[in-house]
Each structure stands twice: as structure tokens, then as C-alpha cells.
Symmetry: C4
């Protein structure tokens, strides 16, 4: 994989992911006459569809993580070089923020916002722990070499997890940071983001430990880090 193209793909892919998540949340809330289930149905279906397209098309370019937690586990497993990790994570975070702002521009909203949506408490943090663990398990059990198959799995997982977790499954630190910057359906209060990110990090570490127990392939003995 070409290095510069890969970093651009992570930036663009994460930006589009946030355009989809935030944009479809705005549209869903605007049209659903106060029925939040219909808004979340639109939001979850659009996100699943967007993830499918992004992973299927950009997977061959960068691996299509769009997610620091996924990139971290790939690095721990020896599947991503330290240099690549150091480039991917800021590209993902900056891309995510850019995506939120593009969504605001598309819907004629103020670009700079801060969310006031409360998402706090044990249930929310525990939900993020489960949601992120499930996402990582899906990715590391799935066929990583087949971008369309992987895209279908991740899309189905996240589309379902919007509903079966109390937190609607952020499961992604870059996404969490970016969603503090929108006071719309998909937002999260900045004060609540650290707990979300901590839970996501705990899940990433836990999955690394489990994967190492199952097969001791590690970063140092890997043959083909990209």
C-alpha cells in the first residue's frame, strides 16, 4: 500500500464517515416529527450503507480503519507499522472533525458548534466497552483480505449496534472527539467524551490481550507490517 495514498484515504474516509453519521442524524431528526426511533432507523441504515461503501472502496488503499482503536490493535498485532500508526491517528481525528464541519455546511448550520447532548453514567460507558469490543472482534475474526466481505460485516455490526447498545455505539475515539463538535442528533457533550474514549481504549487493550492469548503473533515477529 502506498503510504501517502493510505493516509489520504484514512483522512477522507473518516471525514465521509462523519458526514454520513452527522448528516443523516440531522436529516432524520428534522423529518421524523419527534419520533426518535425513526430518526435512529435512518441514522443507522445510512451509517451502515456509508461504512459499506467506504470500506469496500478504500479498504485496498489503507485498510479502511477510520478508527484509532482499530489502528492500535492492528499495530499491536504487527499488521501496521509504527510510522503508519503515527500518521493514521491524526489523519483520522482531523478528518472526522472536517467531516462534521462539512455536514454542518451541507445543512446550512453554523460550522462551529459544541454539543450539549448528555451521554453519561455507567450504562453509557459499559455500552461503549461492549460496542468497541464487538467491533474489534468482528474485524479480527473477519476476512481482512476481502474488502467487500469485511465492509458487509462492519456495516452490519455497526448498524445493529446503534440499537443494541445504550450509547448507540460510537466505538471510535476519532468519531467521539468529532461528535463533541455538533449540537445535533449525533452529538455528545465534550464533558462526556473522555469516559467514552476511556471505555473504547479499555476495549482495545482487552481485545489485544485476548488475541495474544489466542495466537501469540506480536508486533515484533510480524513479517509484513504495512
Amino acid at each position: 500500500m502506498n503510504s501517502r495514498a493510505a493516509v489520504v484515504a484514512e483522512f477522507v474516509g473518516t471525514a465521509v464517515l462523519l458526514i454520513v453519521v452527522v448528516g443523516s442524524g440531522i436529516m432524520g431528526e428534522k423529518l421524523s416529527a419527534g419520533n426518535a426511533a425513526i430518526a435512529l432507523l435512518a441514522n443507522s441504515l445510512a451509517t451502515a450503507a456509508g461504512l459499506y461503501v467506504l470500506i469496500a472502496t478504500l479498504g485496498p488503499v489503507s485498510g479502511a480503519s477510520f478508527n484509532p482503536a482499530v489502528s492500535f490493535v492492528l499495530w499491536q498485532r504487527g499488521l501496521l507499522s509504527s510510522r503508519r500508526l503515527a500518521a493514521y491517528v491524526p489523519a483520522q481525528v482531523i478528518g472526522a472533525v472536517a467531516g462534521v464541519w462539512i455536514a454542518h455546511a451541507m445543512f446550512g448550520l453554523p460550522i462551529l458548534q459544541a454539543s450539549e447532548k448528555v451521554r453519561s453514567g455507567f450504562a453509557q460507558g459499559f455500552s461503549e466497552l461492549i460496542a468497541t469490543s464487538g467491533l474489534l472482534a468482528t474485524i479480527f475474526l473477519g476476512p481482512r483480505a476481502d474488502a467487500r466481505a469485511m465492509a458487509g460485516l462492519v456495516a452490519a455490526y455497526i448498524g445493529g449496534a446503534y440499537w443494541f447498545t445504550a450509547s448507540t455505539s460510537f466505538a471510535n475515539p476519532a468519531v467521539t472527539i468529532a461528535r463533541t463538535l455538533t449540537d445535533t442528533f449525533a452529538g455528545i457533550r465534550p464533558a462526556d467524551a473522555p469516559m467514552f474514549i476511556a471505555a473504547q481504549a479499555c476495549a482495545a487493550v482487552a481485545v489485544c490481550v485476548v488475541l495474544r492469548m489466542l495466537s501469540p503473533a506480536t508486533r515484533t515477529n510480524s513479517e509484513h507490517p504495512s
Copy 2:
């Protein structure tokens, strides 16, 4: 298939299945402002998506039954050893119960509950008979060696059967037992569970008889029981 990994996969898979079924039911009911069709739409789509991911990823590990009725028919057909059947069924039941409790924790609800949702009468039992027969037919007519294809078939079948049966298609004794332990959207009153399980068992026996008539492969003459 590695035996210990297979039992763990049945446990984890059934737990996640119940997290999805119960969790998305809670979320759907909470957000849908009393419109049960929207709640069931979310519930059925999330369940289908979850089944797709679980069968596609865990199918190669354990066969991904997550269901004593399916494991029973596999055993009858000589496709599952007696030892494996004896380990799978308790793993499925205990996994299912664990999944319900994890869902409760994720949504900040009391862990221990008993359902008060009435699901009784001939129509419900007949629905379970049809639903389970259809699920088993789908599995035994489908390409069991191709986990993603099978995952798509089972997900489509159950997603549809939530709607075309009066019982919303439990079609699984482990799931039925576990759903007595949640007083939420997906619950079933403990007193109504025996009829559901009896109907599911009748369907399993009936499918075994039909399969034996169609092709007389039996447990004793099988060459590759796992």
C-alpha cells in the same frame, strides 16, 4: 474444529445474540413513542444484522448454531458428535442468560427480572412450530460450508419471521429460556415458555423425520462427525 474453541464460540455467540435481541428491543421500545411496529422494525433489523455477523465470523469455529434445536438436528444427521452436543446445549443456554443480563447492565436496568409478557394460546404455539421448521429447513437446505452465505440466509429468514409469525419467531429453546428473564420488549412470561419450547422441539423432530425420508444419512453412518 477445535473443541474448546467451539464451545466458547457457542457460549459467546449465543450471549451476543441475546444482547442484540434484548438490547435492540429495549432501545426500540424506548424511542418509538408507543408505535410497536417501529420498535419491531428496529428489533428485527438489528437481530438480522447481528445474526449475519455472528454466523459469518463464528461459523468456521463452531458451526454457529447458537440454538439447541439446530444442534439437535445436526446431531441426528450425524453432523455433530454426542460429546459436542452435550457441551453445546448448556453453553448456549448459559450464554443466552448471560447475554440478557449484559443487555440489562448496558441499559442501566435491574439485572434480575422475570417477564410478565403474555405469549400464550394456539396461535403462538403454531407460529413457533412453523417458525422453527422454517429455520431448520433454511439451514439444512442452505450451503452449510459457506459461512457468509449461510449467515445471509439465516439473517434474512429470522428478520422476515419476526413479522410473518404471530410469535415473532423465537425458534430457539435457549433464546426462549433467556427471554423469560427480561421484562422488556423481547420478554416472554415464564409460564408461556414451555409451550414455545415444546413447539420448537416438535419442529426439530418433524424436520429430522422429513430429512431422513429425503436422504437416509443418519448419526451412525456418518463419516465426519465433528
Copy 3:
């Protein structure tokens, strides 16, 4: 294809198709609190899911027409023998009626009903002409040898056609006859059925003419009628 198994597959498949169409219509209407769009959403998604499963699993057994109009065009194209056509059509019609009655039993409704749902006028007939032509075009342009691919195409076509036609796309004479026997969401008044069937027959003849113009393969010069 084994002849007896094929006829049974057409009977069972058409019965299950009607269980899905009528059953999900009843459930959707019961739960949707008078919002017919939500009922039709459930009805169309369940029907698409059911068609996917039925065609993918029974396609290799009988071709999975479940539809006299499709069987007729297959026969005209030399892809179905006269003997097979003569056995399929009654199996489809009787299967469809049986499916409606099973759906009634599952929902605890009177088995014998007659629909009072008016579906008359030019717009309805013209819709059936378009709907049936589109279904036949999809089937004859699609990869008939690949049951799962064909299943995906037909499921997507019908799921969409529930919405883009004024008649909700019956597109099937056996289905039309059977739906006169249910006074629920999916029903059609017996008096309106002949126009539906006439429109479906016109579409079948028109598609035959177009296909013969495109490629003159005919019943008589076919090498492998099944």
C-alpha cells in the same frame, strides 16, 4: 432436477411466500397504529427477505418460480417442459391458497375469508402490467444459474416494487388468486382479481415477444428443457 421434488418445491415455496406476504401484512397492520407506510415497510422488507431465502434454497430444486407467469415464459423460452408447466401451475395455485390459510391459523384468524379490499381502476391494472414486466425482465436478464444472485435480484425488485407501483406489485397470478382469500392488509377483492391476472398475462406475453425478437430461441429448438 428431480421432477417430484421440483413440484413439491413449487408447492412449498409458494405456500411459504404467501405465509410471508399475508402474515407480515397482518403483523404490520396490527402494530403500526394506523400508519400504513410503516405496515408496508414491514411487509415489503419481510417479503424481500422471504423471497431471498426461498429462491436461494429452492432455486436448485425447481427453479423457484412460485409464479405461473414466470413458469409460462420459461416454457415459451424452451426452459421448462410442457409436462413440468402443467404440474407447476396447479402446485403454485394450491400452495398459495394453503399459505394464506396457514397464515390465518398462525394469527388466530378465521381460516376461510374473502377480501373486501378494493383494488380497481386503470392505475391498478397498468401498475400490474409494469410490475410484472419488470419482474420478468429482471429474471430473464439475471444470472439464472446462480440461485443466490437471482434471489438477491428478485428480492430487491419486489421489495422496491411494493413502493413504486400503485398496486404494490402482486405480479403473480397464483398470489393474486390466493390474496382474494384474506380480508387483511394484503387482500384483494375477488371481483378485482381478473383485471390483475389479465394485466399479468399481458405482461408475460409481451415479454415473450420481446425476448423472441432479441434472441429467437424457442420452445421447439431448445436442447435442455427441464
Copy 4:
């Protein structure tokens, strides 16, 4: 690809696309009791399903653009001859208009209409710029030789983009022109169409520039223009 068949496929495919878009919009609005989110959910799912069928079946015949912006970029990339482009664009526009009129006839509405639906302002134009760029990126990053895979990608993209853009993602000049001719859910006021088309054209040019920077294959050095 046979030339005449290809032009007919572009005509018929674009016509059916508009039947789906306009027809499902009419049906969705009629049934959804004023909840525009449910109408758009039906509209987006039906459009995605229709696109899947159309691209999967007609892709091998004509490439299944159904969209002057897509055909233009194909031509710029040397993947479509000038002669073919000159035949496709009018076929797409006339097909689109025919599709709107057929949809009106199916729903018993006056054939000739002009939309009064206002879709103006920077947010709408910017949405079309993003929507069209995303569609073109999806098509040019995707596996153009695999019609079903491409069909899945485009269907998922457009199904999602109905929700994540403020304009519901027309992303197609032929579709835009045709939708001025329907005063229903999917319509656009004739006065607002030029800005939509200008934004779509800007996106097409921008994507051409980016593709040329990434790989300098051009119209003149192509070996196999069709």
C-alpha cells in the same frame, strides 16, 4: 457492447430509475400520514433496491450509467467513445422524462406536471456538489467490471446519500431535469434545477481533475473505448 442495445439500455434503465424514485415517493407520501421521515425511508430503500437491480442486470449491456455526469467522466477517462456519449446523454434525459410520466400514469395522476417544490440556497447546491463527487468517487474506485458488486456499492451510496445530504442527493442531471416535471414528493421547482445541474457539473469536472492527477490515463491514450 452492442451499440444499439446499449443506448436502449440507458433509455430503459433511466426510465425505470425515475419510475422507482417518483413512484415510491408518491406511495411513501400517500401512506405515511405526514411523517416525511417514513416517506423518505421508503423512498430511499426503494431507490437503492431499484438501482441494485438496474445496474446488476443492465451493467453488462451498457455500463449502466443512467447519468450524464457519470457518462461524461467515463468519456473523459477514455472509457466511453464520443459517439457513445452523444447517444447516451439524450437517451438518459428522454428516458428519465418518460419514467416520470409512466409513474404518474401508474398512480392515476395528471401526466404533465411542473414541480413547485423549492430546493434552493447554498446548502442545497453544496449538498449536490458533495453528493455527486461521492457518487463518482464510488464508481471510479469500485470494481467496474463486476456489475453486481458495483450495483451494491451504488445502491448503498445513494440509499445513504438520500439522508446525509440536505438535497436528498439527486446527483444526476437527467434525474434533475425529469424531477422538475412532477409535483410530488420527489419533485424540484424548474427554477431550482439549474443550480443543481451546475453543482453536479462542477463535481464531475473536479473528479476528472483529481482522477487525472492520480493516474494520467486520458481519452486519447485509451485502448478500449467502448
